[in-house]
Subunit: 137 residues, 3 copies
């Protein structure tokens, strides 16, 4: 059995940004040497998300418009009594999900034709870390 851990630093230019990290995950899977297993990918933060969807710029815009409707940035969140201003970002990350687990077969991500892995940043412009954990043989 092999277990491999990798941490990637990320610092987005925008406060809210989607970054396609599929190639980074593919690289980590190759480095792990795992032929058959799984890979877990998650941010080490609570206002960010790792999710799988379509690499289509219109859809990525739709996500932002839709999340703003479900949980507006400007709102009197109780969380803001601490001095924070990122209440919405905790809710957006909840909708988008924290983590993904992906099958590895023949040393590769076992993906359908349109699956791509995104890092969803909702309170960025500062150093963050994405954790990658590979298990298998």
């Amino acid at each position: 059995m092999a277990v491999y851990t990798k941490k990637i630093k990320i610092n987005t230019r925008e406060r809210i940004e989607f970054v396609n990290i599929t190639d980074e995950i593919r690289k980590a899977v190759r480095e792990s040497g795992v032929q058959d297993g799984i890979v877990l990918i998650n941010p080490m933060h609570i206002t960010a998300s790792v999710f799988i969807n379509d690499n289509e710029s219109g859809l990525l815009k739709d996500f932002k418009i839709w999340l703003e409707k479900l949980a507006p940035k400007e709102f009197d969140y109780n969380h803001h009594k601490t001095g924070e201003g990122n209440g919405f970002a905790h809710l957006w990350r909840t909708i988008m999900g924290r983590e993904c687990t992906v099958s590895i077969s023949n040393f590769e991500l076992d993906f359908g034709p349109w699956e791509e892995i995104f890092y969803g940043e909702f309170d960025g412009q500062r150093d963050k870390i994405i954790l990658i954990k590979v298990l298998g043989e």
Copy 2:
């Protein structure tokens, strides 16, 4: 350590449909020979979901009504500028989640009394694949 991969084809009669796949997953777990471990289940598509909830027809209707409220089918999604008409389906899958990971104990799904595994199709009537990955010993 044992790793087992199985892919199931599915093609729903309706565009939007929930299919109880618990027995298919139980069968795959038995085939894997894994006594103690985990099983990951996910669609290989970005407009479908695998989730765990109650096998109750009223609740399954409620899910559809609720998802329509959170992300209407008829809406001017940016994604539709590509010629696609399934913007809502990407959002519905996001709410319902992409994947599930379930514990295996004594060669069986380690489930509570009401847990059932569903495939949620939001843009069907064409061939799709569900991936099952078993890890354990």
Copy 3:
């Protein structure tokens, strides 16, 4: 390879309640003896959630207010035709997610500074079980 399963009983005082279970999970990881691997945590129920977010009381209040907006407790759910009154709880659990998988490194949860694990109960005041599954070496 090591596989370790633990089940924790929980019975919340309130019908809707968030319980920080991070220390319980840390304890289970130490008991497993796993140095490097993953831990899956999920409720064995369909009206409860395990999720990772900030241990800040204002934010936990915000979650309840927000979930009530997305899926009101008082609503004519089809699920209630069975005699049940917890339709909202199935939807809240869907938003918050069923399960989390967390990396283990050096015998510890491989967490960022603010990550904490919560059990989200949406139909409590009765015995429930949280399942913990550790895999690794």
